[in-house]
């Protein structure tokens, strides 16, 4: 596949991710605009850091969910932090699930919190799979560029 075809595939996938609300156009596209020759993998670096963040926070959320009694204030704090990093990369669906999760924390609804966490993890995993494909495509397009 030649460079132009690969680039079109990348653009198509980006549009699709935005249309399906995995990613916020304004936020994600602006981040890609910050990439330049001196930092061509900037967005992938950010997303990698985001996964480290989420891994750390998911562990803490899990601990808080299993504390007896459930520590809603601490949960709210962790979810709030995760919402911040999700929104920063433009992860709309993940961010929206965090908003729902926060409402259950504020309401002191233990069952709701447990379900909400499952949804957050589900959306996070779905986004991760999509982005893995996307970055792979981008790398292929980049490799074709150099040949």
């Amino acid at each position: 596949m030649d460079r132009n075809q690969l680039r079109r595939q990348v653009a198509h996938m980006r549009s699709s991710l935005i249309e399906q609300h995995y990613l916020d156009q304004q936020q994600f596209v602006q981040l890609e605009d910050l990439e330049d020759d001196s930092n061509p993998n900037f967005v992938e670096e950010i997303v990698t850091l985001f996964y480290k963040d989420s891994s750390r926070l998911f562990q803490k959320i899990d601990q808080a969910l299993h504390s007896v009694p459930m520590d809603f204030a601490r949960l709210d704090d962790y979810v709030h932090q995760f919402k911040g990093s999700s929104s920063s990369i433009g992860a709309i669906k993940v961010k929206n699930e965090c908003t729902q999760f926060k409402e259950f924390c504020l309401a002191g609804n233990a069952e709701g919190c447990l379900r909400a966490f499952q949804r957050v993890k589900h959306e996070h995993e779905a986004l991760k799979r999509q982005l893995e494909t996307y970055f792979q495509l981008r790398r292929q397009a980049g490799m074709a560029q150099r040949s």
């Binding site: 910050l34 001196s38 997303v47 850091l49 480290k52 963040d53 932090q81 911040g84 990093s85």
Partner: protein, 142 residues
Amino acid sequence: MTDGNANGNQEGATTPLMSWNNNLKALLVDPSPACRLIGKAYLTAYGVNTEAVDNADVAIILLNMGASFNVILIDMHMREMNGAQFAMLLRSSGVQTKLLGMSAMFREREKEEFLEAGGDGFIEKPLHPSKFVPILQELDSN
């Protein structure tokens, strides 16, 4: 822990998206590595010399060492203290720098507490040029 030049260094870097009358310097305090990288990249792209640290203690050390900034952006949910506590600490130490709070969700009370403690402004995340450029323009005109 401070972040290195995640987005390249100032010399030989891409032309900034905006130019300023003054040499603007920002300190970004955020426990999230992703948010620090994004914030620093945005501010740097817009011509602001930016230092990013992950906690309030390191920020205080930097300031005590004499580092000066035009603006300090603070996440409301740092590990050691919240944004209002940080603002109070800085103001009581005589730090006059413009303080901007950042939070994942706008909460009226959180904003009020921060402003009462000495904060100057409040931004809802995600950090985006539309939110910080007007503030920088105001700073640059003084």
